[in-house]
Symmetry: D2
Subunit: 444 residues, 4 copies
């Protein structure tokens, strides 16, 4: 490893296998931007605390801003021979501004620094994810409204239950997204950026000096408990857990769309641009995107298990195991952002095959509950009504007859209130839907 | 199964293996209380909707209140031959009030009912858990304050890092509990009790009728999306996830206390009443409670995985798989409540072995950072100071000499500012702790 | 707790919360039979080692056999106030045979005893599971053979791929069961019953004395490493992992059968005796059993995570955490045994709706690969053939024409070898299936 | 994506987000070598089946061998714009040998190809892992033997239990490795390489033609069930599960070594070359390698959960979700190989601090069981002996006296057979260890 941030007490060289095994730069390079911002804030603190002279501060600030701007421009290259992004940036700075860089790490520990960087990363990515969510929710809402007049069979146990409008079907996912959004926002609100925990016990700089706000408008202050600050990965687990729930929601949406695009359901057509083919079977147009969305639930859950297991039974405070929180965190954010971005394009392009859907609505079983409800209005106790209609359905299935075509003589054997006229009125998707009045308007 | 709530269309008897395999009464019996309260609210709705006459309502209400009071008195017995708690209570009611009970399930589906019951169960148990948390936090805070003057070695990587006070050590757990409390409170606030989703598409009762408040002061209203309401188990996952994080925190506390009570650390004595022995080894006094607290992390994580997996890729809306959410939910609540209750007794009785702790504070390595800080104050750049002190430590370890006993001639070889007098001043736990000023006061 | 097996050095009473929290009798009562068998073997060892007189041995043996026979007869009742099944049986024995029972636990530790009991439990239940597997495989094989002539659309990505026979469809599950069987058998073969580990370091009895075989024909010997023996739970994890894979296989079978019994696929009819209904919707006949089989994958995976997490990072040797291995082990065995037993009844009763299946086979896309194969035989390079047929399919879909009805003029635009006559020959499920020759006969 | 292996039926371009989201070349490039070997075998089959002329075969073979040798030489570069490694190699081949390359994919599907490649990858890496295991077991065995004379306190519940020799301590891990080795070998033996499954239903080439053995001596034959072959990922799960158990074992070893290298235990010294330092605290020498080994259990478990979840409830046969098996498989292999390689260097360099260890052996509690055993030999029933010694220990702890220094008058109050002379004899680590005779010799 190049230019480590430690070594004075060591008389032997680190074994190369150890360098390879313990380094984190291959993944924590994603924190480069946040590391620079953190260091700029830190030198502000050092200056206020009298540990940097104005001229020293200037040099360091200009060096750090230079690195930051190279990151933003995309010209920043990472040298993977370093142990981590912190030592690499420290080294870069030294090359740019000379000896004064040796003062950068005054009153600071990587234990504290990495928590700061990770929290900034989380804030940024939570915000990004919320933006995409707001966008996809709008698109889904548009889709729901545009197709509100399409009635589909509602399913429980994947069996025909009762007719529902496509509006409420898609709105169910919008409700899930609303909960997801609220969860992410709560996490965002509860992440506090602190500096000054040192390795574990704080630093010699007064807590008041840590109240800084950077050009990037993040507010920082001293820790309320430095032991906890360096030992805590709750924010990582909370996020990965919330992202797992999102992934679960998307896996359900994917499953439904995969089913609906089978030859047997044939309710929808997924745009060709969002499908792929087979190397052997020339006819294939597969819903691969949706399958991968479904399959990624495994990765998201695995990431959650990973961090929970890693933290289990760790003595206070920081242990090196905790370095392993970053890959699953980054991965889960990236999966969900990619999935949302691709579904945001795919969903609005879905075409509904109205005739095929309508054909399924002819299944009279979908209206059994409506017939029972009708009997209740006629004074039959619900449980009796349930049994009566159950028998009617059994008869229908055995005889192969349509209820709408049964004459009164047959119907009245089940109950006197059952007439052909009423059956014709009731067995109708629009009538079924119109009869449902319990749904509350959402507050805007 | 006795007196099922369905069957009209079935011509064959259910296979006994199926009855055994699908029934849920062996665990959903825990919902009995909430089921009765829900049914009382439901008949209020039916009455308002004109689907029950006043006299019918009265009979049903008195029947349900009778069952409820037997539950509260502890005289309620469950007949496990029923399919679930809902059909059992329906049957009990019929025995108590006769035919009118057949009207109870009007405009209601078990899909909706079970969500209502589960949410009431969660509200109750969230509240209970929050109470225990508030209690244990107080006890821990007392413990922290009473022992605030004890200084211990702070650990990172389980190696001596820097001295910290026991106050901040225990306060770190109080911080974790504070976050846990906030998480549970957020979940509590976001659970909304609704009725009127029916199986999937709502009911024929107007949503305004669903605005009811029971004697138990829970506020209920109609659903904004019935498909979502019966398909949603987010609240279960959120809770099990939050309980898993709590379990992780407790596993860390347990690990530390287990380590501290080893013969080798010997920092604490756990009260005999909280330990158990060995059937073979007469001397044994084992910290079993703490080991089980640590081990239960496995169960909690397993429960989380269970529900996440169960929900993965399920098509909308309700599927029978979702019945499997209850055992892990109940189990996770019970584990955490038991753990908190037992730790609330165990922790305040811990005795600190001050002499043994003090002995470890003599390790001069604990003060290496303080020496480096001193050099920084003398104008040495931090990275240079780090290297200088690293070499001093290496020398100390190799020579076996104490730094406090090194004379100036030796010390000054490392750096002119290092004097015996300063070393004696700096190498002192109280001085070390007093020098840390970055810790911010908590807002009350 | 009643009559604990330890306590001499304790001067305080165990806190009742601790008794409740640490006891295991509520689940380890399932080990009662194995505990008695183990104890009978143990007293054999003690007798051989001269630590029991013949008369003492006789008393103990008759007492233990009495308990064993009460277990087998079903008259054995467990008193849940004891700590665990071991102390309960020890106490029972003392009541039956008096003071000599105090010698039972000579040279024995519960650490060792519980491993022995658990391994016997596993051997028994592995064997039981293998029996059910062999049975269900036979039933599935019969089902496959009886319906071998039915051709179904084969799916990849849940899209029509190529025709396959029902035989090979069900045979795929038989192959999975074959692997499952092999895995369980391997585990069975590798479980060795040992005695004599003591708490951790062995006992004072010579290893040769531990070579015993009981009336139950289990062969026992001394441990090769007592530290490992009491610390090892690999066999538990191996089993739960193998059971998780079985559960995964069954979840896939369940998913397919759920899909096939939807109104939209409508390929099969599941016997009414294996379905359940809805409390609200009278028409419902739901595949609940299959849904629960699918959902139980969550429980099985959760159990696996549970034990893996519990064992993570435990120092040698035995720690109390390890007591938590039993509930997930028992639960996973019970789930799989129940699932196999119920599927063994359900599967043979499935009715195939041949006409509905045949209708799907008319989808000409299923034969696209066969057309490409035909072109390859005519000398076209495969990748070119793939493209040609892809274009033919695109034309078919756009024009809405059947390939079989296209005249030569149209077909030959795609490739000269494509003729109406050949298309009619190729587009046929039987021809397609007959053309596949790569499948190897299984070794019996 | 460049030069896809499909597309004829598509009229639109694939959306770039889809290309990015679905591609696998960034990870399946690790299969390049196996893909070439598989293709060489495949063209052998095509030649035997008369689907390739001798001259075509020659061209293709020389092209594929060229690519293979570039892989082995390390000069192979992957173009990440391709969809997967299969299409990239197909394209490379076309560039090298021209049009004949279009025949390569005759009678082959990527579904089948990827299974073949993955199984070859697994065979290679199982074999590699077994080699490292055999090596580390030898080193551990040497360590155990060299330090066999060192006696340490054996722990249960992390409390002093009984003395054990370092030999048996390390041998416990050797036993675990032996089980791990057996598990990996079993998996190796059960992986069968097949070709000829096509997409799902086999190919038109006779199964006899698939019996090929390559220059690389892997034996291949036709599938017994092509639906199963392309749907099966059991081998992946089995491997990741076995690697998780290995990771669990290593996490325990790591935990013990971390504990033993604390200042409080101070039993061992880990070589500096295998430790790292702190950026803030100059004295630090942290056991980072061991902490990461412990923490990686999380990653390994997460990978297992990932694949299990991904496979849950997937309908037959291949679904795109299954592409997600490779990253966790590769990752788990790499983690375990790295861990074993680094521990193989680290463990032999551990230095034992004999004096510190010996100091702990003075804890007389370690010999309590030996005293009880002595009483049993004197005819006391074990349970009585346990109580007597328990009281002796309680007295010792309360009085602060050493048992060895108690005079007969005191000792005999507990039991007449307890004499100072016997106590002095018994309380001795060597005597304790010598008295244990139940340990069986291992079969070589």
């Amino acid at each position: 490893m190049k230019n480590k941030m430690w070594g004075g007490r060591f008389t032997k060289k680190t074994n190369p296998l150890v360098e390879e095994f313990t380094k984190s730069i291959q993944f924590d390079k994603k924190l480069a931007e946040h590391d620079c911002i953190g260091s700029i804030l830190h030198i502000n603190v050092l200056k206020k605390a009298g540990l940097l002279r104005a001229s020293e501060y200037k040099k360091l600030e200009s060096g750090l801003k230079g690195i930051l701007s190279s990151i933003k421009k995309g010209s920043f290259k990472v040298d993977l021979r370093f142990e981590d992004i912190h030592s690499y940036i420290q080294d870069l700075l030294e090359k740019k501004v000379g000896k004064v860089a040796l003062k950068l790490h005054t009153c600071r520990s990587r234990n504290d620094q990495v928590v700061f960087d990770s929290k900034m990363y989380c804030l940024k990515n939570l915000s990004l994810t919320l933006d995409i969510f707001s966008d996809i929710a709008k698109k889904l809402s548009k889709l729901a409204k545009e197709n509100a007049r399409i009635v589909i069979p509602g399913y429980t146990h994947l069996q025909h239950a009762m007719p529902v409008s496509l509006y409420y079907y898609f709105d169910a996912y919008i409700e899930m997204f609303r909960r997801d959004t609220r969860r992410l926002s709560n996490i965002f609100d509860n992440i506090k950026l602190t500096m000054g925990s040192g390795a574990i016990s704080g630093t010699c700089i007064d807590s008041s000096k840590y109240n800084v706000t950077s050009l990037h408008s993040c507010v920082v202050c001293g820790p309320t408990n430095p032991i906890d600050t360096v030992s805590d990965r709750d924010f990582v687990i909370e996020i990965i857990s919330a992202l797992s729930i999102i992934g679960m929601h998307l896996s359900r949406l994917a499953e439904d769309m995969i089913l609906w695009s089978t030859k047997e359901f044939d309710f929808i057509d997924i745009d060709e641009a969002f499908c792929t083919g087979s190397s052997l079977m020339p006819q294939k147009k597969n819903p691969d995107v949706l399958e991968l969305v479904r399959g990624n639930a495994g990765k998201l859950y695995g990431n959650l298990v990973n961090v929970l297991v890693m933290m289990k039974g760790l003595p206070l405070s920081y242990n090196r195991d905790m370095q392993l929180d970053k890959e699953p965190l980054f991965d889960s954010f990236e999966i969900i952002q990619k999935e949302l971005k691709i579904l945001r394009e795919l969903l609005p392009k879905i075409k509904f095959k109205k005739e095929n859907i309508a054909r399924q609505l002819k299944d009279e079983c979908l209206y059994a509950t409506d017939i029972a409800d009708y009997l209740v209005q006629k004074g039959v106790a619900f449980k009796d009504a349930h049994t009566i209609v159950g028998k009617l359905i059994a008869y229908k299935l055995k005889s192969g007859k349509e209820i709408k075509k049964m004459d009164n003589a047959i119907l009245k054997k089940f109950h006197p209130a059952l007439t052909n006229r009423e059956m014709k009125r009731i067995i109708d998707p629009k009538v079924s839907i119109a009869s449902k009045k319990s749904i509350r308007r959402k507050r805007k």
